[in-house]
């Protein structure tokens, strides 16, 4: 049986679902294909210990721009985000907090993000391939491109009064990722902030509301079957083949997988133009995030020197301006640093339904954790050692936490790769580097979401819009498909 659709979308994460909603609402026949049994991608929440729930891969995502949030009608379908009002850097003897509404870099980053998204949206909606390059360098460029030549330290140092404030600002910008903050180009990390706030009920609730909107828009969704091939006829995309051999014909295919996985696993390697394979192969993906989920018997004691509601926002453990460099060096060498950057979130404080009354859930996001260790695979011993190390670090600033741990679960980059299909467990769709960001993400001569293959569109974190916001890249890919259908570019 041959199934025929206007568009097929690979991956039922937030971006894929947003793309499907946008296309289905305009009357197109759409199908979403998901490899896992359940849709959601990283936006899922599960019970990791009886009674205790957490979103395993992240607690917050890059924000959904307001106009898309309302256009998708997510609020009516139950998506509610509670922004964290305060982030804290906690040392054994002192603490430093910053309120989100008094945070200049975040405001600046938000303004740049908005302008960059407008630019990406204009590119997507444009019907023909736009003349991409400007005559003069670094002038008429994307918003935020000045950050491509500046280091994180350069940008943050002028606002931060002292070392502690600077360390906190760096920890916020690099959460779960890594970079040497003195190297030029690292300022771009400010654009990749996951600061949506915590979703009520965990990130699963975002997925639920997207699914509910999708249902009313009338799109099909097929879970539990992996797409194995993108089919091409006469050089253009003609459809998909699934793991059970089913072929689906589609005029357009939107992939929300990362760039490498899209091109290297869905095409035979000799099926691609040589230049495309070379570019894809040299795209850098860096798994660097580990997550620890804790079921606690209760909140730890608040340190005596802290006078704010510490547990209501993210807590960065003892950041130091000189600590990120060595952590980065260790990661390059395939080891876990002595003091990796760790961010804690007591998620049940803002969202008590995540665990039984009187208990607490805690997530730790650890940065600079290599996907491949220099001494081989992530064995049980190495996992235990990392859990131990993180717990020790938590204990150093919040004594007594260790005694309250009822259960814990560790997720390292290979686990993320297996669960979500992100190459090397890179949750960001590729290294945040000047040659892989903004206009150059994923590469220069295709105006993302369009790719060098006609009829294949890229959404998700490997595109410029995907790092800047959630759901946006899917909406843009859908707009590009609609523009190209209207212009008769797709058969």
């Amino acid at each position: 049986m041959l199934l025929r659709y206007d568009a097929a979308i690979i991956g039922a994460g937030a971006d894929g679902l947003a793309a499907a909603i946008t296309l289905a609402r305009s009357g197109l026949k759409v199908i979403v294909l998901e490899r896992n049994e359940k849709p959601g991608g990283r936006c899922i929440t599960r019970e990791f210990h009886p009674g205790f729930h957490a979103s395993p891969f992240c607690d917050e995502v890059p924000p959904i721009p307001a106009e898309i949030f309302w256009a998708l009608d997510l609020a009516r379908h139950g998506a509610v985000f509670i922004p964290s009002l305060v982030s804290t850097a906690l040392w054994p003897d002192r603490a430093r907090s910053i309120r989100s509404d008094q945070n200049r870099e975040q405001e600046q980053a938000a303004a740049v993000t908005k302008a960059a998204l407008a630019r990406a949206g204009a590119d997507a909606a444009f019907q023909k391939r736009s003349p991409f390059w400007r005559a003069h360098p670094l002038s008429d460029s994307w918003p935020g491109e000045t950050w491509a030549t500046q280091s994180l330290a350069d940008v943050l140092v002028s606002d931060a009064g002292d070392d502690d404030a600077l360390a906190l600002a760096m920890a916020r910008a690099l959460e779960g990722r890594l970079a040497h903050p003195d190297l030029a180009g690292t300022a771009l990390h400010l654009l990749a902030l996951a600061c949506s706030g915590q979703a009520v009920g965990g990130l699963q609730s975002l997925t639920e509301s997207l699914l509910s909107v999708l249902q009313s828009a009338g799109s099909e969704i097929l879970c539990g079957l992996e797409v194995t091939d993108i089919l091409r006829r006469d050089g253009r995309t003609s459809g998909l083949r699934l793991a059970d051999g089913t072929e689906i014909a589609a005029r357009a295919v939107i992939s929300t997988l990362d760039l490498k996985r899209t091109f290297l696993s869905l095409f035979a390697w000799n099926d691609l133009p040589a230049e495309t394979s070379r570019r894809v192969a040299s795209f850098r993906m860096n798994g660097s995030t580990a997550r620890l989920l804790f079921a606690l018997d209760g909140l730890p004691e608040r340190p005596a020197f802290v006078d704010i509601d510490l547990f209501a926002g993210p807590i960065h453990i003892a950041p130091s301006t000189t600590g990120f460099g060595p952590a980065y060096a260790a990661w390059r060498g395939g080891t876990v640093a002595e003091h990796p950057p760790i961010t804690l979130r007591f998620t049940s404080v803002r969202d008590p339904r995540l665990c039984p009354a009187g208990t607490a859930t805690l997530t730790a996001t650890v940065g600079a954790v290599p996907a491949r260790l220099f001494n081989g695979a992530w064995t049980h011993e190495k996992r235990d050692a990392l859990s131990e190390q993180v717990l020790d670090a938590i204990e150093s600033v919040l004594p007594g936490t260790g005694a309250r741990v009822r259960a814990s679960e560790l997720i390292v980059p290979p686990d993320i790769e297996q669960a979500l299909g992100c190459t090397d467990g890179d949750l960001w769709g590729g290294e945040i580097a000047p040659d892989q960001m903004l206009a150059l993400r994923p590469w220069l001569d295709s105006v993302a979401p369009r790719t060098s293959i006609d009829g294949l569109y890229l959404a998700g974190r490997s595109t410029a819009a995907g790092v800047l916001g959630t759901c946006v890249s899917g909406v843009f890919a859908a707009q590009a498909v609609m523009a190209d259908l209207k212009a008769g570019h797709l058969k």
């Binding site: 030549t149 030029a184 040299s282 850098r284 980065y328 040659d435």
Partner: protein, 489 residues
Amino acid sequence: MSGPESNDAIVIGGGTSGLVAAAYLAKTGKKVLLLEAKDKLGGLCAPGNLAEGFKIAAGAQTLYALDPVVVRELKLPKKGLRFASRELALTGLRSDGKHVVISGDVHDTASSIALHSQRDADTWPRFRKELFEMARAMRPLWWESQGAFPTGIEGQKIERLARMSSGAWLDSWFESDAIKATLCFDSTAGGHSVLEPGSALSLVWRAAQEMSGLQGAVAIPRGGLAALTEALIAAAQDAGCEIRSGVEVVRVILDGERAAGVQMRSGETCFAPLVFSAIGSFRLFSRLLLPGTLGIARTEASRRRPSVAQARVVMTLRRVPQISSDAILPASRFILAERLETYVAADLAARNGDLSDELPMEFVIPTTADASLAPPGQHILSARVRPVPRYPAEGWAALSTRLGGQVVASLERLVPGLSRDIAHIEISRPDLLENALPLNVPHMLTTAARRVETPIAGLFLCGADAEPVPAVSGRAARIAVASALAVRR
């Protein structure tokens, strides 16, 4: 402020750039005074005092960026500038003995690369062609005062490359670490990490240079680099320039918002409507100008300094070093760096104030090209090590001892017996990077006219850090003089 004592122009600093500026100004009939703080002229190319009978320049070890226009217009060959070697090959020394020799001959180079990877050997001619084409497209911008950024496909490639690190760029072309690590050394000039944008552009900048008409060549003058200084002094003096050495300038005197002259350490003052600074811009902006003279942004920017530096290790040898393989050309520059990660590790350690276990270095043995540089039978080995920490945790004195030991040990691994032949060793920190501002991509892509100007009218930069990448060149000096005279007219 004109009087019998006044000059038309004052040049601060008597290095290559200062001498070029002075010579150009004097050639147009200006009354020029050049002031050098040290006793010897030449800066990095001043004769160094190594040991009796050995000739080696104080800071630089090869010439690769000398402006051909300067050579022609100042008639340097007539003033005695000759080359002992016009094109040194680039040899990556490998611990496995499969040394990579990169020379102007594409086929020889490819067959040397083929020892490591046939695919890379096939790639080499394409890479070289692309590199050289991009480099030629950038010459107008880098060589002329109002040159334009290339348009069309070359411009697109450069824009992308400007955002790229040399590590990522070379990774996208080659698979073998041997070739990548050998090519990467030149990209770390100016304190760039091989992970930073700008480092790939540095490679293009190197390829845009021309020595004796050969693109991307590296040369050694006959009589050492001090021969260049002598030729330039002759050119400046023949044109009628007044040169005073041993005179340190401590202040640039301003008249309102214009430069009006300089004050020396002795208290003596000199006046001129044009002042050219061939010293590092960090020193100029932070010491020679009164605080608050520059805008806040410029002061803020000039406070940031590169956190990595380079070191130079020079040794005299009792006999010619025997490098075991006979495939090595005698006159070559040698790179010691096994992998790209060697650079990354050294850079990350340097930013942390420490030395990494393996230090990337480039060394030459100039005496194999020009025997007159040393007493008969003896040799000089000059090595440039980078990146090393600019702010070593243990202090420079302690670090340099450790550095010297590490350099000798890594040379010994490739040239067994070398350490026994060392008669004398000297470790220094040439200040090419020391007084410079950190490199950044906008600086590399702006027009030359913008690079030489300062917020103060009549004050121009003409030294190494007014070049896109700091180097012994003279190009910025030529352009600074042209811009200054154009403004005056």
